[in-house]
């Protein structure tokens, strides 16, 4: 069996041909989709559980505590115990809630997550759908999660949920602009929206280094706006505990609450992995110009590890934001977006276009 951790293309091709020999083209497609679906569900659960654990540990480090330390070494089984607890908990029916929309909302959020996860390149050849408009697709699909949030708030028959959902809507709609514009800056630089092409273009150097200052500014803006888009602190007005108990998921209990909770963490993972893919080279190893020996050593690390390492670095930065900065007020939040991030972003796009036009990049 041809199996290479540096290039999955041959491996996926081998699965495809052996399935095609065994059954008709229709059933081949169905089986492949089923395999991909199961893999993504597993990936989703593992990453979600790990991120909950990581967040608690990062928070503990920042506050000079130990964090979870009872279940298993360093408390690594804590989140699994939490999941089992949530699975066994009662799903409380809400009086006068819109039952259908109430039950539908968590699934919309989760489906959006899966749709984005499918478009991210994890390693060479490990890429579920490689659209030629990959970035556009991601921007378009990820902004749909606000529908789930709004539905949850609206159908709960609870004023706190509704206020939380409205805040979340205002926030996502305004920060979507910054996310989109900072990605457009990099699309101008890369000259393509296809994620595999963008990653391939970073073989000689990551975009954050190649694109000079505009790329760096775009990266910083993307991280800030991405944090806001996932409703995480310091932008977590949508679920400000001190004001709204839990915001849009106040009325959810048991596993439905866990869906929202997991979706929030996976959203952060998605934001981080897009940042890693577009600014930090995705699964590309770290190369320095003409240092042959150094580049060789870097090539030995499998691309999947590179991808995960970069993603978790960005996640660490985003978590650090949450545990360092105090929460913004709603007017401060909108001021930050409309008076600072958006004008800077527009100027940044202009500078980037000029640099590309003059060919001043590496």
């Amino acid at each position: 069996m041809p199996f290479d951790i540096y290039d999955f293309t041959s491996f996926t091709k081998w699965i495809d041909t052996s399935l095609e020999n065994a059954m008709s083209p229709f059933w081949t497609t169905v089986t492949e989709m089923a395999i991909a679906g199961v893999l993504f569900i597993l990936f989703y659960a593992v990453v979600g559980l790990f991120l909950v654990y990581a967040e608690r540990k990062v928070c503990a480090f920042v506050q000079n505590r130990l964090g979870p330390n009872r279940l298993g070494p360093y408390g690594i089984f804590q989140t699994i115990a939490d999941l089992i607890k949530l699975l066994f908990k009662e799903l409380i029916p809400i009086k006068n809630a819109d039952r259908f929309l109430f039950n539908l909302a968590p699934y919309i959020v989760i489906i959006v997550n899966f749709m984005v996860l499918g478009a991210i390149p994890y390693a060479k050849g490990l890429h579920a759908i490689d659209f030629n408009i990959g970035i556009f697709y991601i921007i378009a699909v990820s902004s749909m999660s606000v529908i789930g949030v709004l539905l949850a708030g609206w159908s709960s028959n609870n004023k706190y949920s509704l206020i939380g959902a409205m805040r979340s809507g205002a926030q996502i709609v305004s920060y979507e602009l910054s996310v989109g514009l900072s990605l457009i800056t990099m699309v101008i630089f890369a000259g393509s929206m296809q994620l595999s092409v963008i990653v391939e273009a970073q073989r000689t150097g990551w975009f954050i280094f190649k694109g000079h200052i505009p790329a760096f500014i775009a990266f910083v803006i993307y991280i800030i706006a991405g944090t806001a888009e996932t409703n995480r602190g310091p932008f977590d007005l949508a679920e400000a505990e001190s004001e709204l108990t839990a915001g849009y998921h106040t009325e959810y209990s048991g596993i439905k609450f866990a869906f929202f909770y997991l979706a929030e963490f996976i959203n952060m993972f998605i934001v981080a992995s897009i940042a890693a893919t577009i600014f930090l080279g995705g699964w590309m190893p770290f190369h320095i110009g003409t240092w042959e020996g150094f580049n060789r050593i870097m090539d030995f690390v499998p691309p999947f590890i590179w991808y995960l390492g970069k993603t978790f670095f960005v996640i660490w930065v985003i978590m650090l934001f949450k545990w360092t900065f105090p929460r913004l007020r709603i007017d401060q939040l909108l001021t930050l977006e409309w008076k600072y991030l958006l004008p800077i972003n527009l100027v940044n796009v202009l500078i980037m276009a000029f640099i590309v036009l003059m060919g001043w990049h590496f």
Binding site: A60, F61, V62, N64, R65, L66, N69, L320, F321, W323, T324, F325, Y340, I344
Partner: protein, 160 residues
């Protein structure tokens, strides 16, 4: 022009102050500070509670088995939960006078919220908090305690 410079200054100093905060929190990852978490059941052998810990109410006695309580009942009156009951008794002193002294100072730990009003209001500093905080017992009756030790007396010179 001035407003543009102010705008850019705003951004610069804003970013600088945010970075200052991030520097502090991020530095804990390679230079962890003193960990404040107590690993409780494992460290109970050498666990030292802080001085102000309100563990349970006690009545300090000196080595001659004497306490400070004059049985005035202010602690009983100031207790919001009624967890203190002062039972006095009357004795005849040598010079033929009647005198009210403490018979039993009953403290119901199960009802106490550790507000500390009794300790604060005691005119003779007869009550105090100890740092012992492990109160779990299998019988509820064990939570009702008599604070003065058997055979204890009032310390000389407290009443003047």
């Amino acid at each position: 022009m001035r407003s543009i410079i102010n705008y850019l200054k705003d951004i610069f100093w804003g970013v600088m102050s945010l970075l200052k905060g991030l520097k502090v929190t991020a530095s804990y990852f390679w230079r962890p500070g003193a960990i404040v978490t107590e690993k409780y059941p494992e460290n109970r052998k050498y666990l030292v509670m802080f001085e102000r810990c309100k563990g349970e109410l006690i009545m300090p006695h000196n080595d001659k088995n004497e306490h400070n309580c004059i049985s005035c009942g202010i602690c009983q009156m100031s207790c919001p939960n009624g967890s203190i009951e002062v039972i006095p008794k009357t004795i005849d002193t040598e010079d033929g006078k009647k005198k009210r002294i403490l018979d039993k100072h009953i403290y119901r730990l199960g009802q106490c919220t550790f507000c500390g009003l009794c300790v604060k209001n005691c005119p003779t500093h007869a009550l105090a908090f100890s740092t012992k905080f492990e109160h779990a017992v299998f019988n509820k009756a064990l939570l009702i305690k008599v604070l003065n030790k058997p055979g204890s007396q009032l310390k000389k010179g407290v009443e003047q």
